[in-house]
Symmetry: C2
Subunit: 549 residues, 2 copies
Amino acid sequence: MLGLMQDWPLTCDRIVDHAKTWHGRREIVSRSVEGPVVRTTYAQVHERARRLSNALKGLGIKPGDRVATLAWNTARHIECWYGVMGMGAVCHTLNPRLFAEQLCYIINHADDRVIFTDLTFLPVLLQHRANMPGVKHIVVMTDPAHMDRAAMPGTLCYESLLAENSADCVWGGFDENTAAALCYTSGTTGNPKGVLYSHRSSFLHTLVTMGRDVMGIVEADTVLAVVPMFHANAWGLAYSCAAVGAKLVMPGQKLDGASIHELLESEAVTFSAAVPTVWQTLLIHLRETGGKLTTLKRVVIGGSAVPEAIVRAFRDEFGVTVAHAWGMTEMSPLGTMAAPTADIAAMDPEAQLRIGLKQGRPPLGVELKLVDAAGLPLPHDGATFGRLLVRGPSVAGAYFKGDGGDILDAEGYFDTGDIATIDSHGYMQITDRAKDVVKSGGEWISTIEIENIALGHPKALLTAVIGAAHPKWDERPVLLVKLKPGETAAKEEFLAFLEGKIAKWWTPDDVVFVDDIPLGATGKIDKKLIRERMKDYVLPTARSAAATG
Amino acid sequence: MLGLMQDWPLTCDRIVDHAKTWHGRREIVSRSVEGPVVRTTYAQVHERARRLSNALKGLGIKPGDRVATLAWNTARHIECWYGVMGMGAVCHTLNPRLFAEQLCYIINHADDRVIFTDLTFLPVLLQHRANMPGVKHIVVMTDPAHMDRAAMPGTLCYESLLAENSADCVWGGFDENTAAALCYTSGTTGNPKGVLYSHRSSFLHTLVTMGRDVMGIVEADTVLAVVPMFHANAWGLAYSCAAVGAKLVMPGQKLDGASIHELLESEAVTFSAAVPTVWQTLLIHLRETGGKLTTLKRVVIGGSAVPEAIVRAFRDEFGVTVAHAWGMTEMSPLGTMAAPTADIAAMDPEAQLRIGLKQGRPPLGVELKLVDAAGLPLPHDGATFGRLLVRGPSVAGAYFKGDGGDILDAEGYFDTGDIATIDSHGYMQITDRAKDVVKSGGEWISTIEIENIALGHPKALLTAVIGAAHPKWDERPVLLVKLKPGETAAKEEFLAFLEGKIAKWWTPDDVVFVDDIPLGATGKIDKKLIRERMKDYVLPTARSAAATG
């Protein structure tokens, strides 16, 4: 027997409809690509998004077609999202940090028909225009005054398109499982793969993140969305801020400390979200200038593990609460949030800070499973490492066009590729990537944990741990150290430094001093390249084991 | 094109599964019907609910069958909910405040197969057992020691059933639109009508209420759920507390001031929800005993309009924040919440208090529409009265078995039967019931507003306003006053008291002093009965209009 409740599909147009009706006067403030800080409202964004829907229809776009954006966080970018999704087309966010070749691959793979681009990224598109034959139109997100027709052949002007179209259009009304958005994973191995979000998955993600133990944004908040809309959907802020009617501040392309600080203060921001490097940059700026944070109350940090120093600085120097979050493109992106439980809130501040460095616990709607190599569940004891699997209505079930094949296990879980622990508070901690963890005698050793401890050595500038082949243990850890300029050190200094800080059997079998530890495009250590460079390396212990074996 | 996200049906078993996995040790504390305060956990409730599912299967219950509860708020009642819903049966909450005849009508209309009852309500069920032939089993929610077999012929013992069954059962796995729960409206006119909730509607309601601008409950909260599970689903607390892992305190049958105060303090409650009369009773108790509220931070008040004195007492005497909520059984029940916007938060405390007396604004997932008699939208100006229509995924689309016929308008909206205003902050205020509002010359006059102001007259004990027929204006208001014991008054005193406090054309055409103003079962003024009693009444102005007309 079915219930007798209303049929009300969870579609994203309803989010901005709600914002217009209940929070129409609430502002969206953007540092525009053209320069000035500009102000609009949810009511205006709603109206302009509908004009954009009509404009797209005029350009031949039909429901299901892919329309891409290559843009910074601005109100115009939000208009594009809702305008594209509202008419039933698919909004494909392109990451401008990718190499042009990857960008072209993704545009062609997605069959993008129209690309909305900020002035910043127009040159790279025009330069490679011939390599994206399926793209019918490029729309430059600016006004006629900033259109240089000679330098922008065959492009359309965003503001002209909006001016030429009415806001009278049919929105929504389709199945909630209709595709709404597309985002490609950065893909450290192989080609990038597309995650095709549905209206339902994004709507549910929005509701989940609105929980007070999750993002917990309210109307009275002013939110600075630093995390880019082109990367993991700005952690859902373009939806959740509209849903609650929070004032939204969009930083455009200026993410330096001074620019971020200026917006935080001038707009009286109460909440913000970004990756650790942004906050590191801001904190350095504040210390150099003696700057204060007079309105900011909470920051959510994710994207990579949050360094203790950042949490401590926000807490002790600026009275700002840090919430550590974890997620991935395949999860829309939110997976966990380190919101204190009653037990944790009762701890002393140091203990609270330490547990807050873990990635946190999942809200209702995100299922986590920690399993061993055979797929069997592992205890939530905070010590046992396992592969982290996830399931939920906002988790990918397959990649676009079937890339990567069947990505779910028999129970419908997606493998994150991460190795993690879960403690008795339900707090998950990422300990390694599955492909990086050192498998020693059937047990796993966290390379990240050893790296982080070794980085505490006063002579270390960068550290990395990889697994090296061993005839008896399969793999043993080897520590690579790039010393600070002018320093010299012996292996034994580092081994002695690690003693007592990690389990004895985790102690690296060797320490190798290197000139360079390569970093990837996202600032993370490029272990794939390190392993390539070290492919002829043989562990001293392997040599002796071989000799005596 | 459809998105490629996981198929993860929104079913209620997942809520208690989540609670067990992530908040298994968190407590549910109940004042038991047998007397003592008893403690359990989400893990135990989960396990026992699964035993209950198996017990129901043993009793012949199949998916879709209705299983009723007639019970106070206790952990056992929560086990019943999840045990019944988890196996795909429909949990029908019976309201013990109904007359036996209505109870029998509802039980038979719903085709209840099994009734779970607290000891308190067993006598009435046994007395009327012959009038509910479809009921196969009555399960007494107690342990063997409290079973008086002689006095309870043909009944089953709850704890024995659980002990006899294993927790190993198949849960969930059905369509999210499957019926999960059934609740009958109190129905002031005609027979009660059943609202048949789906798993989807209850799950979405849970997510919506978790928003920080809505109920905003977190794990670190300790929640006293005073609002009964048998009335409007305890405002969703049995779901939302499990969803976030809040400690849950269940008051059983003792709702007097001393008992509520004892639980608030002994369990360190931070959040509670109840109708105004409960808080009125508590406040009187606190004043009489000099009691304090040392842990309570927030109370949500709904069910009927919150009196200003309660908000003021909580704020000024006890430092507790009051949030005014509005909803109805047909809405699962939440409709609006008076959570302050940035504009309101910037007002002085008196202005904030005053606007907080309105019913508030809808979260994403609840659509409100204010319309005139012709169904056309009215402005959100805080002054224009209109019929209040609602739409959303947790709003009824029809009543059980088609009672009441087609209840939605052409756009899918449900008519609440309320007359309301909506102001520029998006705050809705109920001004009257549609059937009570006075229609004077095509304009509407709020009876509730006049009543409330007249009640401020020092001689008034109770006041009521009804519309009386008028040859020129169709209807004109007449004020009924029950004076305080020993008082006497002239009409003119009340008319003078109203002057300047209401629009001149709202002034009642007559004041009638009465011995009695009848109240209905829910404590509200019974205007239907008043109108019956006044059916031969003729307005003085009607007589003169007729004479001169």
